[in-house]
């Protein structure tokens, strides 16, 4: 494998793990499950928190030096110490069955082997995302010559920078602009997410259902092995899927506004589609609280959760205003043509939705999600279907609308993007499958509804 590859592994684990531990403890995001469950949750939180914080600092023209990068884990450690010992004992989520656990681990081990040995050979990861990471590490800024169009070619210059920020950290601490160090960032994010998802579903339903859902996602080609957006690539679609799913799980298990707002902020700062995901999550959050606590509470919670999202969007807009647009679709402009292009909607929808039955990308995952939705509606289990369904409907409708207005040839666009866009929605699909599985198993009390806490504002 070589020491060089392990340098990146060590940096990634420690840096994001420590930051996630501080933020997770502060917001009580890591309060449940086994030690591994909590470590995984901290890692995912750390990836989001580090990238978002560094982006904010970058917009404020703080030099992105090793000292700036290094100060974040120091602050996290201080926050950990100040916050003191955990007061509540972690909730025991039960024992995960061995078979699905092993089934989940096999693809993760394969992804790790590839990350450790095989050089990165993807498209967007090298063409856009990691090049931006290299530029941030080299220029110590997100407003330097590269981003001003005066350095190397910066395609999609307005893409959000959460993952390039994290890549820049790894490049800087590794001491060289070599992508072998950064491969772990994406592989570990995928692995940590699956473990976190398992614990969240276990909390919502049962350990068995959680373990099987994670095993299922781990074996989806588009999630793990696809070099166009999977865990073996350096695309930002998988991190966006992770933050979107984490936000949705937060909404249905523990709907405190600050954690919900944080996950939504991470999604917003990860990819352009994060805007759609953020809007969908905020609406799902509103509906979820409305069902349990009424309109005034729902509105106040959404305002609280939306505050960091609006701040982030403002900073993203300010930053974009300083950066010349290079090679990117201006969807705000294109959206004006939507009404005149309604005749293309059917064709766009077909091009996008047919990918759901792309067996090479998904197996029978999406048909199973559709069947599970029908089953839950028949059983009148409308709670999770409503929330996950809203999320899926907004996501799918937005992507079809984008397909409708774009100037791309639809077949080419669908071939290059549809599976990645569907990947961003897997959190909702996983929730539906988990609910259906629990129904099949014999319904427990509707914990998805009862575990929602609306009394704690933070």
């Amino acid at each position: 494998v070589g020491d060089e590859a392990l340098t990146g592994l060590l940096i990634t684990l420690v840096y994001f793990g420590v930051i996630g531990a501080g933020v997770g403890r502060l917001l009580r995001l890591d309060a449940h499950g086994s030690r591994l469950d909590r470590l995984a949750t901290r890692f995912v939180v750390g990836v989001g928190a580090a990238g978002a914080t560094l982006f904010f600092l970058g917009v404020l023209a703080v030099p992105l030096t090793v000292i700036t990068f290094g100060s974040l884990p120091v602050i996290a450690v201080i926050s950990w110490i100040v916050r003191g010992r955990r007061t509540a004992k972690p909730v025991d989520l039960g024992r995960y069955p061995a078979i699905p656990t092993v089934i989940m681990l096999i693809p993760l081990v394969i992804v790790f082997i590839e990350a450790a040995i095989v050089p990165l050979n993807d498209w967007d990861g090298r063409a856009f995302w990691l090049l931006k990471g290299k530029a941030i590490a080299h220029e110590e800024s997100i407003q330097g010559p590269f981003f001003q169009g005066l350095g190397a070619r910066n395609l999609h210059s307005h893409y959000p920078l959460l993952m390039p920020m994290n890549a820049a950290v790894v490049f800087r601490f590794a001491g060289e602009l070599d992508d072998r160090h950064v491969r772990w960032l994406h592989a570990l994010t995928a692995a940590a997410f699956l473990i976190m998802l398992r614990s969240r579903i276990a909390r919502l339903h049962s350990a068995a259902v959680g373990a099987w859902i994670s095993a299922l996602l781990a074996w989806l080609p588009q999630f793990s092995f696809d070099s166009y957006g999977g865990a073996v690539s350096a695309y930002s679609d998988l991190p966006l899927a992770v933050f979107a799913a984490a936000g949705l799980l937060q909404i249905v298990t523990d709907a405190r506004p600050v954690p919900v707002g944080l996950w939504i902020t991470f999604a917003l700062l990860t990819k352009n589609e994060g805007m759609v995901i953020a809007a969908a999550l905020l609406f799902c959050y509103f509906v979820q609280i409305l069902r349990t606590a009424g309109f005034p509470v729902a509105l106040s919670r959404v305002v609280l959760a939306g505050a960091p999202v609006v701040c982030s969007l403002s900073l993203l807009t300010i930053w974009r205003g300083r950066i010349p647009l290079e090679y990117d679709e201006n969807y705000a402009l294109l959206a004006r043509d939507l009404l005149s292009k309604l005749t293309v909607v059917g064709e766009a929808a077909a091009a996008f939705l047919v990918r759901m039955v792309d067996l090479r990308g998904w197996g029978i995952f999406w048909p199973a999600v559709i069947a599970a939705t029908a089953y839950l509606l028949w059983r009148r289990r409308n709670g999770v279907v409503l929330i996950a369904g809203i999320f899926l409907a907004i996501g799918i409708a937005s992507y079809i609308a984008a397909y409708t207005v774009t100037g791309w040839k639809l077949a080419d666009l669908a071939a290059s993007s549809a599976n990645r866009l569907l990947l961003q929605l897997i959190g909702a699909a996983a929730l539906i499958l988990a609910e259906a599985a629990q129904q099949l198993l014999g319904s427990r009390e509707p914990e998805g509804e009862s575990t929602v806490t609306v009394d704690a504002p933070v």
Partner: protein, 152 residues
Amino acid sequence: MKLQRSVRASVMTLAFAVLVASGAIASFPKVSASLQSAWSLRDLSWSRRRETVLGPAYPAIRALRRQIPETSDVAIILADADDVGPGTFLNYYLYPRTSIIYWGPNNYDQQILEGRVDRPRPATIIWLDSTRSPVPRLATIEEVRQEWETKP
């Protein structure tokens, strides 16, 4: 009741097993390729691994990185539209060198940079014509123009 629950659990396990199997079958070609690749590369240095995975262009890129100082500006002139991929990756591997991509020598002569004409034209030129060779190489503008004019 207990029996019914056990049957239900078996049905759920079976349903998940079928779903996982469908994903695993779909993943098999990629998993197989990934493991074969990792096995064949495991004893090689990172440079040799990249040469194996990225093809003959990579040694040439390494040589270019040695020859061109990091502070230099580089013009990457593409022979045609099919070269945009290799040109984009050349841009990636040459960083932090400032590389500017031109679509043919005429584009370079006219200093047309996808609508941006306010940057000086780099003197160092890398010529990329994948119809003749996947290997990028240093060239003068005269050599580029000559090859361009004799393109098949």
